[in-house]
């Protein structure tokens, strides 16, 4: 099993979620986050006082997937969240040691 963490632009969330549903991904965790990378922050001006914010708002997706669909998930996110501009985000893939469904106690891929 793999644990996939994707940081994407907030306005791409719906497109990515629909595309993932299309390949059978039934659940994910979404968090609003802030961060920075190569994309520089934005400038705010209040009565001439300029503040550059170096943290930009992003959306973090966390998805647990079986080994055979993990590559497809990464590819789907990469193609749908892509705008071609700096700041599109990153995708990280980790090995997932175990998964347990709390309601039934099932574990392993059946719990996903």
């Amino acid at each position: 099993m793999k644990f996939i963490i994707a940081i994407i632009k907030p306005f791409k969330l719906d497109t990515v979620r629909e595309a993932l549903s299309g390949i059978g991904i039934a659940g994910m965790t979404v968090t609003e986050v802030k961060g920075f990378g190569r994309q520089k922050g934005q400038t705010e001006i209040y009565r001439g006082a300029e503040y550059s914010t170096n943290m930009l708002p992003k959306v973090k997706l966390e998805i647990a997937a079986s080994d055979d669909v993990a590559a497809q998930v990464v590819e789907t996110i990469q193609s749908t969240a892509n705008t071609g501009a700096i700041g599109d985000g990153k995708i990280f893939v980790l090995d997932l040691a175990s998964a347990t469904r709390i309601r039934t106690g099932e574990s392993g891929e059946t719990a996903l």
């Binding site: 705010e44 001006i45 209040y46 009565r47 001439g48 006082a49 503040y51 914010t53």
Partner: protein, 455 residues
């Protein structure tokens, strides 16, 4: 005296009843009697004027709470929201109480002093002695309004002027220091300046200075006092390297709207009657403000930025400030001109020039009220002239009027600056002006009031 008034009132009531069409009676006899009584009795306030002035008074109250409180509060960081609003409310309350004890006396009291003293203060009427419900105050014509209404109207001006200063000192001044500073400042700065400009026998009043609703008394006065107090306090910790963006421009926008609405009471009420002069002040308070608001946004675009909400709000306030001395002293197009010029000057001052000085006027009380007030007070000499559609009859040449206006501005700046220095130092040397470092970092809401604005 009371008996005569009662008799006149009875006769007047009779006259109204008799004048009704269903009542055909010997009207001429009654009319004669009324005329005779009117000669003996003191002038009676016209209910229309009284009603308007009572409305205008509560409109100015609306400017303070919640208008100014929201306008300033939104501009602070969220940890200082309650402190900013509470200081404004408490300052206004303190000013109201002091006004009825000795403030009204010093500014407009019944006893006028001969000689130099009379140029700066009046006396008598302490604790409103000698005033009752039948007392009247003169307007600019033969009419009178109830004295209690006049006292209340002027009371709100003292209250808002003191509250305006707090924009310069926000986010670091102790609540107790505000409460100690305000009575001293009102006594040695506000009351004398109000007397000088608005009371018969006052230095600038007799000099012929034009200040319809308080460009010098309220705005230059508050702006300069705020600047001096900001210098005495020192900068906020982290200013200007640390970002201190406004925590809610929504609140600021709401406050701006309330200030604009209330300002009709402030400006049009300064006519002291519901007459044509009040109407002129009203239309000017619309158009100068509209011009100021859009000009600020255009200036932002011209400087390569986006037209902003805060720019809009700032332009609204500048337009209102600039038209205050000119409200009944300008035609509508003169007022628009004044709004445009004041907005440009204040934009350049606040956005470009201010940073070159070392002071921290937190919410730009000086940058908007001081600078806008100076442009308005001097500009009033120009827009007053008949060639710009002003109500002036041209009897005072433009140059001479400009001289009078500049003199009134300089006197106000000097008096406010010196008085604030004295009041500020008195408080600084006794209880101290500033909160300690930890309180400032934690925010004044929790450290001074034991509450948070948002939970």
């Amino acid at each position: 005296m009371k008996r005569i008034i009662l008799k006149a009132a009875a006769l007047a009531t009779g006259a109204v009843l008799l004048a009704a069409p269903s009542f055909a009676a010997p009207v001429s006899d009654v009319a004669e009697a009324v005329t005779a009584a009117a000669e003996a009795a003191p002038a009676v306030p016209n209910p229309g004027n009284n009603a308007w002035m009572m409305t205008a008074t509560v409109l100015v109250m609306l400017m303070i709470l919640p208008g100014l409180a929201l306008f300033y509060g939104g501009l602070t960081r969220s940890k200082n929201m309650l402190s900013t609003m509470t200081q404004i409310g408490a300052t206004a309350c303190l000013a109201m109480l002091i006004w009825v004890m000795w403030g009204y006396s010093l500014a407009f009291g019944d006893t006028t002093y001969e000689g130099t003293l009379g140029l700066f203060v009046s006396g008598g009427s302490y604790f409103l002695s000698g005033t009752d419900a039948s007392s009247t105050a003169a307007t600019f014509t033969d009419e009178v309004i109830s004295k209690y209404v006049f006292i209340s109207f002027q009371m709100t001006f003292a209250a808002i002027t003191a509250a305006l200063i707090l924009g310069a000192t926000a986010e670091r001044m102790k609540f107790s220091a505000v409460m100690a500073f305000v009575p001293i400042w009102l006594t040695i700065v506000y009351f004398p300046i109000a007397h000088m400009v608005w009371a018969g026998g006052g230095l600038l009043f007799e000099d012929g200075a034009l200040d319809f609703a308080g460009g010098t008394v309220v705005h230059i006065n508050a702006g300069v006092s705020g600047l001096v107090l900001a210098y005495l306090l020192g900068k906020r910790r982290g200013y200007p390297s640390e970002p201190m963006p406004p925590h809610s421009l929504v609140m600021t926008m709401i406050g701006t709207g309330l200030l604009w609405v209330g300002w009709f009471g402030f400006n049009a009420g300064s006519a002291l009657e519901a007459d044509g002069s009040a109407g002129l002040a009203m239309i000017n308070t619309f158009v100068a403000t509209a011009a100021g608001a859009l000009t600020w946004m255009v200036a932002e675009r011209a400087a390569g930025h986006k037209g902003s909400a805060l720019g809009f709000c700032s332009g609204v306030i500048v337009g209102l400030v600039a038209v205050t001395p000119a409200a009944g002293n300008s035609g509508p197009f003169g007022a628009i001109l004044l709004g445009i010029i004041a907005s440009l000057v204040c934009y350049v001052f606040v956005a470009k020039v201010k940073a070159k000085f070392g002071y921290d006027d937190s919410l730009d009380a000086f940058g908007i009220h001081g600078v806008g007030g100076i442009v308005g007070a001097i500009g009033t000499a120009v827009v007053y002239q008949p060639f710009l559609g002003g109500p002036g009859d041209g009897s005072t040449a433009l140059g001479a009027q400009l001289g009078v206006q500049v003199f009134s501005v300089l006197v106000t700046i000097a008096w406010a600056g010196l008085g604030t220095l004295i009041a500020g130092f008195l408080v600084k040397l006794t209880i101290g002006l500033r909160v300690d470092e930890e309180s400032e970092v934690n925010g004044l809401d929790i450290s001074e009031h034991g509450e948070r604005a948002y939970n």
